[in-house]
């Protein structure tokens, strides 16, 4: 017992330095020959993908009203505050007109249904994200296991370099304590603190327990997510059958959010 505990102390000491706990834990387990060491692992139900991607069928949305439940579901669940001062605005997923969502893909006389259609925009979870390149602390990073671009709010120093680097305006900064702006707190999910940047997290907390993102759930089938590199995945089927576009493709960031127009 005493020996075991000392080892745990040791290994937690090592992992506290920022190294992933898992290999260290496993190494100790092997060396000592008894498996009764603490383990850190993914849940069995966790959804996996090489690169998560999203396909939004915009044809199913007709007015901004159609998007409200989706935005509301996300913002409520993630404790995204609402402030009157537009400068302090925080949003993870929101509604834009076509020519704002796709400023370099507009034509002069746009198809009427497209022109009036609402477009959901959010973090693109780029395969080649400029924000992660810019971050001086790796507080924002592309998760290797599934390609989601995430924020480590414990580490962010609030320099806002990622906001300048993002070509999609997907990031928000906490210019003040967000809590007073949250009408109804969701206890299951943390809020943020002032001085850090935040954005859509592709519902990483839900994927981990085998659930699909809130926006998907609230979209009545208009939004699908899946593995971009699994040829049999639902998103790949949709991409095969429909012509899709992405935001600012020319920049080479390889967005993972696709739009059926």
């Amino acid at each position: 017992m005493e020996r075991t505990r000392r080892n745990i102390l040791k290994l937690f000491g090592i992992t506290a330095l920022g190294v992933s706990a898992k290999p260290v834990l496993n190494a100790f387990a092997k060396e000592q020959g008894h498996p009764a060491e603490p383990q850190i692992r993914k849940g069995e139900k966790a959804l996996k993908a090489k690169q998560w991607a999203m396909v939004i069928d915009t044809r199913q949305f007709h007015s901004a009203h159609d998007l409200d439940p989706i935005i509301e579901a996300c913002h409520h669940a993630h404790n995204v505050p609402a402030f009157e001062n537009k400068n302090h605005e925080i949003k993870w997923i929101w509604d834009e007109k076509y020519h704002h969502a796709f400023p370099n893909k507009t034509t002069k006389f746009l198809n009427e249904s497209v022109e009036h259609r609402p477009f959901l925009v959010l973090c693109n979870h780029c395969e080649n994200p400029p924000c992660c390149r810019a971050c001086p602390t790796k507080a924002t990073f592309k998760r290797e296991s599934d390609g989601i671009v995430l924020m480590d709010f414990h580490r962010c120093i609030g320099c806002r370099f990622c906001m300048a680097a993002c070509p999609y305006g997907s990031r928000s900064f906490n210019f003040r304590d967000p809590r007073p702006g949250i009408a109804e707190q969701n206890d299951q999910f943390p809020t943020r603190m002032k001085g850090v940047v935040e954005k859509c997290n592709f519902c990483a907390e839900r994927l981990a327990v085998g659930e699909l993102p809130y926006c998907v759930k609230a979209s009545n089938g208009a939004i699908k997510v899946g593995d971009l590199y699994d040829p049999d995945s639902e998103v790949r089927q949709l991409l095969k059958e429909n012509y899709t576009i992405r935001r600012k493709q020319a920049l080479g960031t390889e967005p993972s959010v696709y739009y059926i127009v």
């Binding site: 505990r5 850190i40 709010f153 707190q185 809020t191 603190m193």
Partner: protein, 129 residues
């Protein structure tokens, strides 16, 4: 060197001021606080790790937890007894220790540490009261 007495007087004054917290509090050290356990915590008998370990190292454990949850998508912790826990401060720790004021704050105040956990993670004890 005629400044000797001034230098010594200066040092004495400096030390007196420097040591102010020590002699001001002399003889009236606050007793170490006793943390209170909720019924749920008492019934569980042991936390995710042995009590002694938790008492001394819970911050390291939490740091490992948050690192693996946030950065590696690993959210399950299996302890030496084979029990599985969801690695979550708000949803696991605070579920049992639903008395933040009597459990967390008491010791933190005593040790004069001010962790910023609750700037973001919600203290669920209010709803459980």
């Amino acid at each position: 060197m005629n400044d000797k007495k001034w230098i010594i007087a200066g040092i004495v004054v400096f030390l007196a001021i420097f040591a102010f917290p020590f002699w001001y509090n002399m003889g009236k050290a606050a007793p170490a606080p006793e943390v209170k356990l909720t019924e749920k915590a008492k019934a569980a008998k042991q936390c995710v790790m042995p009590t002694e370990y938790m008492r001394a190292e819970h911050m390291q454990l939490l740091d490992v937890w948050r690192h693996n949850v946030v950065r590696n998508a690993e959210r399950e912790f299996v302890n030496t007894e084979g029990k599985t826990f969801n690695m979550s401060l708000s949803n696991t720790c605070m579920d049992c220790h639903a008395n933040k004021a009597d459990f967390c704050d008491k010791c933190h105040d005593y040790a004069s540490v001010d962790p910023y956990c609750w700037d973001c993670h919600l203290d669920r004890s209010k709803e459980n009261e």
